[in-house]
Symmetry: C2
């Protein structure tokens, strides 16, 4: 079955002098917030600086002054953000970004980005941008317009692999594969020494991981099925440094790197532009509040012709003949 | 305003011993057929071998034994095909393909490809394929499964330019530009000597052309607005030969070439794979009825970072700040 891996994502910074999201907010609040977008909390970890919730569709991270939520599938994340604004209060919000990627199957989504922004605009004025061309990978971003200035040390990164190799897809869709086997395949023991790890293998396949250490986090979401594979890594540790390792493991046909406040993005990603991958999209801007954002999509040029994918109708959509 | 240039397309071959679509079918039938997908006939030309209708959304061509229809925007072409099958009769249909490209804004479409195929499957059994990855340019194709064998001389070609240069977009969106000026810009006098031409400039912009000569046709549809430009050429004359000219004029960030029964596709497109464009997608197959289909998408690798597109909400979707 097809599953929409592409995430919606929101990052919210609150005024620490008015509220601590870790101390002042109950788990019941987060449960309801997550339910508002039609997801559920599966488990959580907490190291005192960061609480990480593993969701039925992706992840929620909470710090004293910050929240990060990613949800995939057909969740309506904007409803959770509306719930947050209504219950925490706009006056405590210093910064808010709401981001959405182009989906594999946009028509199956309960709302499009402009619907979401109409909903958010009832509460906050913001600016809207598109990073990347409409006919390729792109990210829509809504940024709350206010007087808040970004902390240049508030860096975060996304690395997303699309159309991973047949070998990687076959391994990650192995019936009964354990979380440990997936961690080993992704070399996570190397990347995450001393991190608290909370991970989950979905049935029939799919994998999510939250990892935290002090105020650092890494979250990984694996939609491994052939022809619509999507593997996302999101972190405030430098994923550009780890990207060559992930590329080597997954051999994707295409990958994205997106960063907030990585001031050396161009130099750091230059090595990819000298390998067999080429840059399809390169976007860079600095938002009025000082946030620097970079987005790049790389593709692997093709040499050989391949057969088309044969499809059969099943339920609401198509099922890939080859893999199911 | 955004306009969806990507076309749905159907090709139907009928048994000439049972019916002539040129002689036996009235214009009123085609009028109703076109209305069924929410388009309208604007004008028509006829040279005895082929009748070409220019539509409010793209084109319809009718030969004695064949029909080709392309419709863009938010038309529901499958309804026109259903009308054809119901009124002409399945027993007269030798071959039918129904094709749909990935749209810029899939969520704005009244149906998705699987909806369309469910509707068609009530009348005809067929096989379904996807040419191209889900996260890039792709074509869905439904092919009627029957005993008919393709004529290898029945060749046709599509050339589609995406994200044309600022210069080309600016010229093609010039207020009051004439059809002649657009024909000159596209060098059509060179390509189409002795063709009967029927073309139309839409307000505020957009251009469609039908050209016929004997049983040859060329149709061009221009959606020129910056950030969502889409210019399609469809013909049974060899468009691969003309592609370098179109690329030179339009400088697209990306282009597709699709062909039916072009047995030298790989050799003929090899020159593009040696220029500054690279192949993102290369697909090739031969359908059970003998139709050979090739699809290739080429992109222009990027070197420089560009700013994101700033957007504002208007009506149901986004409006590009830069151009409107």
């Amino acid at each position: 079955m097809f599953f929409e891996g592409a995430e919606k994502k929101a990052q919210i910074q609150v005024d620490r002098s008015q509220i601590s999201l870790l101390n002042d907010i109950s788990d019941e609040f987060w449960q309801v917030l997550v339910m508002r977008c039609n997801a559920q909390i599966l488990s959580s970890t907490n190291n005192g600086q960061c609480k990480a919730f593993l969701l039925s569709e992706s992840s929620l991270f909470v710090w004293h002054d910050k929240l990060l939520i990613l949800t995939c599938g057909e969740t309506q994340l904007v409803n959770s953000i509306e719930y947050f604004i209504e219950h925490i209060g706009k006056e405590k919000i210093q910064q808010l970004t709401y981001q959405r990627k182009n989906e594999y199957f946009a028509h199956a989504q309960p709302s499009c980005f402009s619907d979401d922004i109409k909903q958010l605009s009832q509460y906050l004025n913001g600016s809207v941008y598109r990073f990347g061309e409409l006919d390729g990978h792109h990210n829509y971003l809504f940024n709350y317009d206010n007087a808040f200035n970004a902390n240049p040390e508030d860096k975060s990164y996304e690395f997303i692999a699309y159309q991973i190799s047949e070998k990687a897809s076959a391994l990650l869709t192995t019936s009964g594969i354990s979380a440990k086997e997936i961690r080993q395949f992704l070399s996570l023991e190397t990347i995450l020494p001393d991190f608290i790890i909370d991970d989950f293998v979905f049935k029939p396949y799919g994998y999510s991981l939250n990892a935290i250490k002090d105020d650092k986090y890494l979250t990984i979401h694996v939609t491994p099925q052939a022809n619509s594979s999507y593997i996302s890594f999101e972190s405030n540790i430098d994923l550009i440094a780890f990207a060559p390792l992930f590329i080597d493991i997954l051999n994707p046909l295409s990958f994205d790197i997106l960063s907030f406040n990585e001031f050396e993005f161009s130099a750091k990603t230059l090595p990819y532009r000298k390998t067999n991958y080429v840059s399809k999209t390169l976007v860079e801007t600095t938002l009025p509040n000082g946030y620097k954002i970079n987005f790049a999509n790389f593709i692997l040029p093709q040499v050989d012709f391949i057969e088309p994918v044969a499809l059969t109708l099943e339920g609401e959509g198509f099922t890939d003949n080859k893999t199911l």
